[in-house]
């Protein structure tokens, strides 16, 4: 008789848990069936491929709660086990209840899952392995939070444990902000502690690894284009990394391999790092498939879910021909860009931050990095201004960094406009710039200019000043209403410049996914 394996799906599509997890569930089911076993899927989302009646051997259209799942397990008894690592947080959250009920979890165990999500256990593990993470601690009161913040220094990254998609995650710069946050955050999750970490303003890297418990394979390292502070689901990312030193890569691989082994990961694991210079610090570990798995599979040519599922079913990576460590990098770059639905949601600020806001993503593939950037941005639906006016309104702390970006836009023939502070700074650095009135200053102000279609691009960074920010939100909302691209991170703006320059220099070709893998 065939072995029966149950795969838990990921439920409804929401921000933070999208179609990627359905992709992973489907591939897991296919790999199980290919290995000659019977795959049973449980899911409740009618929009998906996983709930197509010929995807699995059996489909249960049921809620994903412990009671509903256990009833099915009882009905299907005897089963080989349940796979929980492909259905996002929905499936992972059921691991503990199923394990307690005596159900076998295939792949990384419920204990491994708990280990990654329990702050204290996880910190102890990193200390034991001598792997750095940003300084910080878990706290349960506002007073304790202030003490920790004073020790490690501001700014701090604060967030509740057990959250998805960075919900309620914030960067705080002062004690007041921290205390405010603690009052608000405790309401979010009354029992779970709050994490207060040093905020490292560096380059973020992300890896997905596959482990069979003995060997750990890293199909690739992805580099985020926006620096830390923007949620990984909302940042653009490039593979292979463009600005990462060999030494950093080696460290990332070394840390990932050792964490996978210590945590006894079998299957997939996602790790995010933030770099302070060449030194990567671990900021998050998820012992499950992540939203980057589908696109990383496509651009590295490694069918990651299939390989991971075979590990889960007991095969060794070595027997499948995969070495330990980082898989050789592909030559052609691929850029992932987030896609937002702000036009549908009145009252939501379109500024990027630690809370995820995007609903989807696109991939740009090309033979050059700027080409891939351009395709990702065009694919994401940004109306890239080929000529016209770029409007700057940036926080004081960002003016110096905005200057070279403004200079390049000017050199490419764009007209510059800016609000008084930014304009004065640019002008004092010999840039020709038109000063535009703020909302309160004139009828002809930056918002009316955006509305009347005179602005092709807005670069607006967030100010810590609440009064300025009120205006910032109105500016950003106007860009949504007029479908004018609005960059709230100077990193995205710099990437856009690269893309526009490439666009000005020539056109881009097309190739199939396979051709990008084989064309050198």
């Amino acid at each position: 008789m065939k072995k029966k394996i149950i795969v838990l799906g990921s439920g409804p599509i929401r921000i933070g848990q999208g179609i990627e997890f359905d992709y992973c569930s489907v591939h897991c089911v296919w790999a199980i069936r290919e290995a000659g076993h019977e795959a049973i899927i449980i899911n409740n989302n009618p929009e998906t491929v996983s709930t197509d009646f010929d995807t699995s051997d059996r489909l249960y259209f049921e809620p994903l709660t412990a009671e509903d799942v256990l009833n099915i397990i009882e009905r299907e008894d005897p089963i080989e086990g349940v796979v929980v690592q492909f259905g996002g947080q929905t499936a992972i959250n059921l691991a503990r209840s199923l394990d307690d009920a005596g159900v076998r979890i295939l792949g990384s165990s419920a204990d491994s899952i708990d280990l990654a999500e329990d702050r204290h256990q996880f910190e102890a593990l990193l200390r034991k392995l001598d792997i750095p993470k940003p300084e910080g601690r878990a706290v349960t009161t506002a007073e304790a939070a202030v003490t920790v913040a004073n020790e490690i220094g501001y700014p701090c990254l604060v967030r509740p444990s057990y959250v998805l998609g960075g919900r309620a995650m914030e960067i705080v710069y002062t004690e007041d902000e921290l205390v405010n946050y603690m009052t608000y955050a405790v309401d979010v999750s009354p029992k779970a502690p709050i994490l207060v970490d040093r905020y490292i303003v560096g380059r973020e890297l992300e890896v997905d690894c596959i482990s069979d418990g003995v060997t750990c394979l890293l199909p690739g390292i992805m580099e985020h284009i926006e620096r830390a502070g923007v949620h990984s689901g909302d940042s653009m990312a490039v593979y292979p990394p463009q600005n990462v030193s060999e030494i950093t890569k080696q460290k990332v691989v070394d840390y990932a391999v050792r964490i996978a082994k210590e945590m006894k990961v079998v299957g997939l694991m996602n790790i995010q790092f933030v770099c302070d210079g060449d030194e990567p610090y671990v900021i998050e570990v998820n012992p499950r498939s992540s939203r980057t798995v589908p696109y990383l599979s496509k651009i590295t040519g490694i069918p990651m879910v299939k390989v991971a599922t075979r590990c889960i079913m007991g095969e060794a990576l070595a027997d499948m021909g995969f070495p330990e460590g980082l898989y050789p990098e592909q030559k052609n770059p691929a850029v992932k860009a987030p896609v937002f639905s702000f036009q549908k949601l009145v009252g939501v600020d379109n500024a990027l931050g630690p809370e995820m806001k995007s609903t989807g993503e696109v991939l740009g593939q090309d033979v050059t990095y700027p080409g891939a950037l351009y395709k990702a941005m065009v694919g994401a639906g940004l109306r890239l201004p080929i000529t016209g006016t770029v409007l700057f309104t940036v926080a004081n702390s960002d003016k110096e960094e905005a200057l070279p970006i403004a200079r390049e836009f000017a050199a490419m023939g764009y007209a510059l406009q800016a609000t008084s502070g930014t304009a004065a700074y640019f002008a004092s650095n010999d840039l020709h710039v038109e000063t535009v009135a703020k909302i309160t200053e004139s009828e002809d102000n930056l918002v009316t200019r955006i509305h009347s279609g005179q602005v092709g691009l807005v670069i607006n960074t967030l100010s810590k000043d609440k009064r300025i920010e009120e205006e910032g939100q109105l500016i950003r909302r106007a860009t949504v209403e007029r479908s004018v691209p609005c960059m709230t991170s100077l990193d995205t703006a710099a990437a856009l410049l690269l893309a526009l320059k490439a666009r000005a220099e020539g056109t881009f070709g097309v190739m199939t996914v396979d051709e990008y893998l084989t064309t050198k």
Partner: protein, 552 residues
């Protein structure tokens, strides 16, 4: 007619990134279509910019392109691949708009690419309000009074016209999920919503229409082939009356509150429309029905696979996208096998012996500052579906599938709502309305009162009342819960909710339940209400005696 043998290579355009109004349903449809085409020996060229999709897997198509979905890039792919045909109706509004654009720019003609399935002229007839209204008038199907507005000046002119049928609904043309629309009760509101709609519409056009608030909203999924054979896949009824986007409405299938006469009347209208339009493939017809008379209006027609067709496919077991792809390459409904039964054909109309409940999943848990009102502009990012033998238990299953911290109609904020706020939540639809209805019933509001404020059909409200009555009975009964445990399970109450209400431990409920031998049986979704033997492996649970899951 067998499939067209002249077609060797066909291009399929996906729907691009997931945005509100266009989610995973097009990956499902596209993947199914790719398989259906390849089954017939056709080589498939697939283009989509979204890498997180099954359809962009190298196994799904012969040539897979992850490139931006713009006419420039698509032209390059067409020039390179030289497909003979293009199926425009599988990639949502994005795919459809691109196909129209490629045709307009002469690219299809230049490379001799034929649009397969529903002709472009038909798509335009269904999508262009004026053409659509003219056609409806021609075939005698009623459409609500409406005006096409293309500038702020004409908007201002209209707003002061006498005898306007207030309130008016504003729908911008060619936008996803009706973006930028809304209901205007006054002249200033009309100017505001209409102005925003004009800016958001890519063709700067809005339609202003008689608002049918309070009418029932009913949908029919229908299919037609080139031989003019037409069938109904299923009909669906919106729990929320007209005024709420169907993507933001709780939906049941099949309809639960229609008389046979109403059902047949709307079915006949839907079939008449798909014939008049000449659609070859699937089509979604949305209708408004006056609950008190037999009056109805045709609201909208989607001449393509859609979110509703994905829901209808899962609700019935009938693979609409697969069949639509087969029709596009020349097959007729009576030549396509129904894979679920393995013995009936695709021309066989599905029958349902269960109730399907869909609830949207909104992003308001993440976006606390967002306007939570649900109107004609869709806000949900996803949805859940549940099947069961009754509406009550289907609703309970769907609620606990949402993962918003609820296991039923209990809602942690509800007790703190003031009476005034509660009234507001029932009158003005938000994601919280279903919980507000239950809370109002707990506070003794009558079904009539709630109906008068929300226009939600009394049948649905009575069913919710059954759940609330059980909830109230269970509250604080302690060990007494066992008396009505079977009944509570039948209504769809999870063990955890029963334990919490009764004031006992979860284990007490589980043990009692097991001791009494109460466990779900599993029913099959066979598309034919057991009229034929089914081979489908598609199941749902029910607290019913007969188990239809055969042991190996």
């Amino acid at each position: 007619m067998p499939r067209r043998l002249d077609l060797k290579k066909v291009m399929v355009i996906g729907s691009g990134p997931i945005v509100i109004g266009q989610a995973a349903e097009f990956d499902y449809a596209g993947a199914q279509a790719c398989r259906a085409l390849r089954e017939e020996g056709i080589s498939v060229v697939l283009v989509n910019s979204n890498p997180a999709t099954i359809m962009t897997d190298v196994e799904m198509a012969d040539r897979v392109y992850i490139e931006p979905l713009t006419p420039e890039f698509l032209e390059q792919i067409i020039a390179r691949e030289r497909p003979q045909g293009l199926v425009p109706t599988l990639g949502g509004q994005t795919g459809l708009n691109l196909a129209s654009k490629l045709s307009e720019l002469g690219i299809l003609e230049k490379y001799d690419v034929e649009l397969l399935g529903t002709p472009l002229s038909t798509i335009q007839k269904a999508e262009d309000r004026e053409q659509f209204r003219a056609l409806m008038r021609e075939i005698g199907e009623p459409v609500p009074e409406s005006w096409i507005i293309d500038s702020d000046a004409t908007l201002a002119e209209l707003s002061v016209q006498d005898n306007l049928p207030w309130p008016l609904i504003v729908r911008p043309a060619y936008t996803l999920g009706g973006s930028g629309g809304g209901i205007a009760y006054t002249i200033p509101e009309l100017l505001e919503i209409g102005g925003r709609g004009l800016r958001l519409s890519p063709v700067s056009q809005v339609m202003i229409e008689r608002c049918l608030v309070g009418w029932k909203e009913i949908e029919y999924e229908v299919m037609r082939d080139a031989n003019d054979t037409c069938i109904t896949i299923c009909n669906m009824e919106n729990f929320d009356p007209m005024g709420v986007h169907t993507g933001d409405s709780i939906v049941v299938a099949p309809s639960q509150t229609l008389s046979d006469k109403e059902y047949q009347m709307l079915r006949t209208a839907s079939l008449k429309i798909i014939r008049a339009l000449g659609i070859e493939g699937g089509c979604n017809v949305q209708l408004a029905l006056d609950p008190d008379t037999y009056a109805y209006y045709i609201i909208e027609v989607n001449p393509r696979v859609s979110r509703s067709s994905a829901l209808a496919s899962k609700a019935t077991g009938y693979p609409i996208a697969r069949v639509a792809a087969k029709i596009a390459i020349g097959l007729h409904l009576d030549e396509i096998e129904n894979k679920v039964t393995g013995r009936t054909l695709a021309c066989f109309e599905p029958a349902l012996d269960y109730c399907v409940v869909k609830i949207p999943r909104w992003p308001f848990d993440k976006f606390k500052s967002a306007d939570r009102r649900i109107t004609t502009q869709m806000k949900a990012t996803g949805e859940v579906m549940a099947l069961d033998r009754s509406f009550e238990s289907g609703l309970m299953k769907a609620l606990r599938s949402l993962e918003i911290g609820v296991l039923g109609l209990g809602y942690r904020h509800a007790a703190a709502w003031s009476d005034e706020h509660l009234d507001h939540l029932i009158t003005v639809a938000t994601d919280e309305r279903i919980f507000a209805i239950a809370e109002a019933m707990r506070r003794g509001r009558s079904i009539d009162t709630i109906h008068a404020a929300s226009y939600i059909d009394e049948w649905f409200l009575k069913k919710i009342k059954n759940l609330v009555d059980m909830e109230l009975w269970l509250t604080g009964v302690n060990d007494g819960f066992v008396q009505r445990l079977a009944e509570a399970k039948h209504l769809g109450f999870p063990d955890r909710v029963i334990a919490a209400l009764a004031g006992v431990r979860l284990d007490d409920v589980v043990l009692a339940r097991k001791g009494m031998g109460i466990k779900p049986s599993y029913k099959i979704v066979d598309t034919c209400a057991a009229e034929f033997e089914a081979q489908t492996p598609y199941f749902y649970s029910s607290q019913d005696t007969e188990d239809e899951l055969l042991r190996d």
